[in-house]
Amino acid sequence: MDILSLLPPWLLTHGVALLVVLPLLAGAAMAVIPRERIAWTITFMVMLICMLCALTLALQVIDQGRLSYKMGGWEPPYGIEYVVDALSAPVLLLISAMAVICLFYASPSVKAEVEPKKRAAFYGAFLICAAGLLGMVVTGDAFNVFVFLEVSSISTYVLVAMGHSRDRRALRAAYDYLILGSIGATFFVIGIGFLYMETGTLNMADMSNILDGLDGGSRVAQVGFAFIVIGLGLKLAMFPLHMWLPGAYAHAPSFVTIFLASTATKAALYLLLRFAFTIFDLSFDYVVTILSQFVLVLAVVGMVFASIQAIFQTDVRRVLAFSSIAQVGYILLGLSFLTLSGLTASYVHLINHAFIKGGLFLAVGAMWYRFGITRVADFRGLSKTMPWTMSAFTISGLSLIGVPLTAGFVSKLQLATAAWERGYGWAVGVILFSSILALVYIGRILRVAYFETPPQINGVEVLKNEAPLIMLIPMWILAILSIVIGINAGWVVDAAGRAAELLIPTQMIGRGL
């Protein structure tokens, strides 16, 4: 890699830690910075550096394979180890890139939605949330995962509650999320506790080795696995554990919704992959059973049921939130096939869905910014009053449905192929059915926007009032990205393929089928 030789060697060695330390320290600095403008600038610079850092790490991983960083100079497994490999590098890049894209959009949107006194602190909470999410993905220590999970969750509760100056229901939503999120985190840490009890280590790689030596017979590890799956299931909004998600997405400030929808559940999904396939693996019968039966059923029910619920929502953000739960179902479905192609599809959809849902929420946020729109019925004539925003929404919407030449099509085709290879012909049918439901809930919005006339105020049609350029840029970046992936998905599928190979090493292929 030529680019790597141009970068300072310090960054190549310490970039792994910088990725987490920088936003964490900058987040603390926001507590003493009163000026909103300065706070935004610092936040933007920090996340930009993080994105470049994540990019460097991704290149390094392609070049050298697994990277390891000894926190405090203590050798793993005794000290905390930070690890970047083919599985985590794309997620790190995704989180930091989405943060940068959202931040473009933040300055007008935060001005409109958050109280002036709290704006600097708002950026502080956002930075800490980003640090938590990045930390969850980068750490190679099971307990450290819990710490960062809590760091990101607690700052998320604060961010959601900040929506209260726009919508009082944000407080209730944040409280629901707080209770359910804490239960999830508790389950997760109980699971970690059981694993620690059984293996005597917290380092993931070490834990995996020791668990392999236990010959699958450890009841304690089995219980630990169940706790971890439930705890992470709550965090990633696996079907019956999703109750916190619609409220949190619908009432948070739009900037927060965009960031959460495209990163928070993705980081939790990453952890599920990490725990189920690399710490535990498919040589354990109970892992196979839980993933290929329990998770499979929940994924399918979630895909259909959440999509149907999305059709009956009146609030646009709730439509998209229920759609997110259905999309998590797609990702879990791919995971439950326990094949390389299934995991590749699952990982591709994890990345694509972040771009798609980010784009949709960006457009909806801009519509609220201009016209105060929240309900589907308010979309009347938006194709005429906000043509650019509405076309970005349309492209991302079509991508969500899975129209050819969009990112959504790529991931659904991958998933359907994987289902067919696995011998689950019926799953192809479920994917099609769920896509038709997506067509209904997105089509319903598009119909109102394109075929109804703009509303009239005192007998005069509402005039064209496009979103500011700084909001249009990020949503078009994501819309164009959707099409680019739709036309040439090679790079995403390759990255996903490398991640899948890491999750199911050669000797595990075919286990549990």
Partner: protein, 145 residues
């Protein structure tokens, strides 16, 4: 508050000792049970006791909320700054051995002392911030409690 004579006298006597005990726990944390977190809680408790007996306003004039806000950030900076210093000296993040390359164990000692001081500051400030936040809530619904 004038009627609670015993409480006022006893707490006035106790508060300095509670604060000193916090620092004992802090600095003895190297050799015995203790450390920044416990010390921070004890230090904050001394201020909270003062607030309980002499009123929130008195406590706020002794330890102003702006200091508390500053202390929260400073604590994190002291901790993180130690890590950044080890970076600048060429080691891993928080690898204190680089402070004194000849005697790595001395470096570890200095490092942990700085970090724990950061923890003390952050924990004490956060405890007070939470107490002030709840204590300063306006009572809007007199009938409800």
């Amino acid at each position: 508050m004038n009627e609670h004579g015993i409480l006022r006298v006893v707490s006035k006597l106790l508060i300095p000792f509670i604060a000193i005990f916090a620092f004992y726990v802090q600095f003895h944390g190297d050799y015995g049970p203790g450390g920044g977190f416990q010390a921070g809680v004890i230090l904050a408790a001394s201020v909270i006791l003062y607030a309980l007996i002499f009123g929130l306003e008195a406590a706020k004039s002794a330890v102003p909320p702006s200091w508390v806000r500053f202390g929260m950030a400073m604590g994190v900076f002291l901790y993180g700054g130690t890590g950044v210093a080890t970076w600048l000296l060429g080691g891993e993040f928080l690898n204190y051995s680089v402070f004194t390359p000849d005697h790595p164990s001395h470096g570890q000692h200095y490092g942990i002392l700085l970090v724990e001081l950061g923890v003390l500051l952050a924990v004490a400030s956060v405890m007070l911030a939470i107490f002030y936040a709840f204590g300063s809530r306006p009572v809007n619904h007199p009938g409800e409690d």
